[in-house]
């Protein structure tokens, strides 16, 4: 897995239950090194997993949270970001790819701007991992989180990558077996990396399966896969643009294989149930991004998320169904 994200050392990989736990781990451990008044920058298009742990930390330790706004097209406003950065900024945490808008963020630029200000960078790679060649050195990621289940792997495992010298300087997260060096009745010493952050019995089967999924992704040419999914999304977008009642969420120039949309007068849950009857599994709801839904002025949307197994024919069939949906519902 170290190779999969481009890490220099194997001990820079901490196994977690997923992206959510990876971010919570960092919010706790890095959080303990922060002072009241320190600032963390997030974006308006984050998944709840990259908002709520920081809000919990903010409430515990008096940290100030700031958010990079998005344009109506779903692009991050980097001018405002530049103004949000200041000497109290300790961390910038953002997604590599929005799970609603499909926007691919300019990660290297965001990271470079943070580093210029002396801030650390956490990248949420949950969406990007199955369709992007990840290289933490090149991206400038001090920390990076991902989940195996988004990579055609098992549920219940993911990882946190962290630069070795940074992880070494952080206090442990959960206490228990494996994470200790020595324990007495008076106290304990923490184990070395990565065990310091991996308390309790590890999910061994899941870890092996995650590595198998990563091997498979690397064997199919991740870059080509990412382009294929983006092309499927573009094909659906072109078809949706011919349906006046459909509003597509997000028009970023750089896009992944995700297309979220609303159909006027039809609730997303009804629409998705209708599509499900024809074998199309879309998700309906706010996609774990309430603040983004509010920013877009919607309650819920339907989301097509293309993967390696999808075909051009399926995109065309979906577009045809959507053309009929308004009359059928």
């Amino acid at each position: 897995m170290a190779g999969f994200v481009g890490a220099q050392f194997a001990e820079e990989i901490i196994f977690t239950r997923g992206t959510t736990e990876a971010i919570n781990l960092l919010a706790h451990s890095l959080g303990e090194t922060l002072q009241a008044g320190d600032e963390i920058i997030l974006t308006e298009m984050e998944h709840h997993a990259n908002i709520v742990p920081w809000q919990q930390l903010a409430a515990r330790r008096g940290i100030v949270l700031r958010y990079i706004p998005i344009s109506d097209d779903g692009e991050l406003d980097l001018d405002t970001y530049q103004r949000l950065l200041n000497p109290r900024t300790r961390l910038v945490s953002f997604t590599l790819s929005s799970n609603v808008l499909g926007s691919i963020t300019p990660a290297k630029k965001i990271a470079a701007m943070a580093h210029n200000q002396g801030a650390l960078v956490l990248m949420d790679a949950a969406q990007a991992a199955p369709r992007t060649v990840l290289d933490v050195q090149d991206l400038g990621a001090d920390f990076l989180a991902l989940s195996a289940h988004k990579m055609y792997g098992p549920f219940g495992i993911g990882l946190l990558y962290g630069r070795r010298e940074l992880l070494e300087g952080l206090p442990p997260f959960m206490g228990g077996g494996d994470m200790i060096g020595e324990v007495s009745l008076e106290g304990f010493t923490p184990n070395e990396l990565p065990y310091k952050f991996e308390a309790g019995t590890p999910p061994i089967a899941q870890a092996v399966a995650m590595a198998a999924a990563a091997d498979w992704l690397e064997s199919v040419n991740l870059e080509a896969l990412g382009k294929y999914e983006a092309a499927l999304a573009q094909r659906l977008l072109a078809a949706l643009d011919k349906i006046p009642e459909i509003r597509v969420l997000g028009r970023a120039k750089e896009r992944s294989g995700i297309v979220a949309f609303t159909l006027d007068g039809v609730h997303a849950h009804d629409l998705v149930a209708y599509l499900d009857r024809s074998g199309f599994a879309l998700r309906a709801g706010h996609h774990c991004a309430h603040p983004l839904a509010r920013r877009l002025g919607i309650i819920s949307s339907a989301r097509a998320s293309f993967g390696a197994y999808n075909t051009i024919e399926e995109v065309d069939q979906l577009a045809e169904l959507l053309l009929r949906a308004k009359d059928d519902l």
Binding site: H267, H269, A273, Y274, R277, G285, H286, I299, L329
Partner: protein
């Protein structure tokens, strides 16, 4: 499992969703929300001098399941005592929780339209929303 959008049930749900009988604006009442999808509904219940419910109405926004369910609920409550209304609601919710057999709904008029939904975990909350709001209102 029967298709939740099947035949007669689909007709009842669609009809109630498109042409609700008991829907009107209910300013000032609190909404009950389904946080997983953002649907929300509020229910107003008035008890007359004879101790039975003389008026029931709902207001809100949501999918066809949550809105048609609210309309059926409001219609069914009229003429019942608050005790009988509570018993009806508890029975309906018990079916949705899987504690009672779905065939129980056959005795509940148009609420039988939700027999298919009752075994669809992702939509049960939609069907239950207004009924939970009514319990609060009673």
């Amino acid at each position: 499992m029967s298709d939740p959008f099947d035949s007669i049930y689909e007709e009842i749900i669609r009809d109630r969703y498109k042409k609700p009988r008991r829907r009107r604006v209910l300013d000032g009442l609190p909404f009950v929300e389904n946080p997983s999808c953002g649907d929300r509904v509020r229910v107003s219940i008035k008890v007359g001098d004879d101790g039975t419910i003389t008026d029931a109405a709902f207001d809100g926004n949501g999918c066809s399941i949550s809105m048609s369910s609210a309309d059926i609920l409001a219609t069914d409550l009229i003429g019942k005592t608050p005790e009988a209304a509570r018993a009806l609601i508890e029975r309906f919710l018990a079916v949705l929780r899987g504690e009672l057999d779905v065939d129980e709904l056959d005795e509940l008029g148009d609420a039988a339209a939700f027999k298919g939904i009752a075994r669809l975990p992702v939509r049960v909350k939609c069907a239950a929303l207004a009924w939970r709001a009514a319990l609060d209102a009673l």
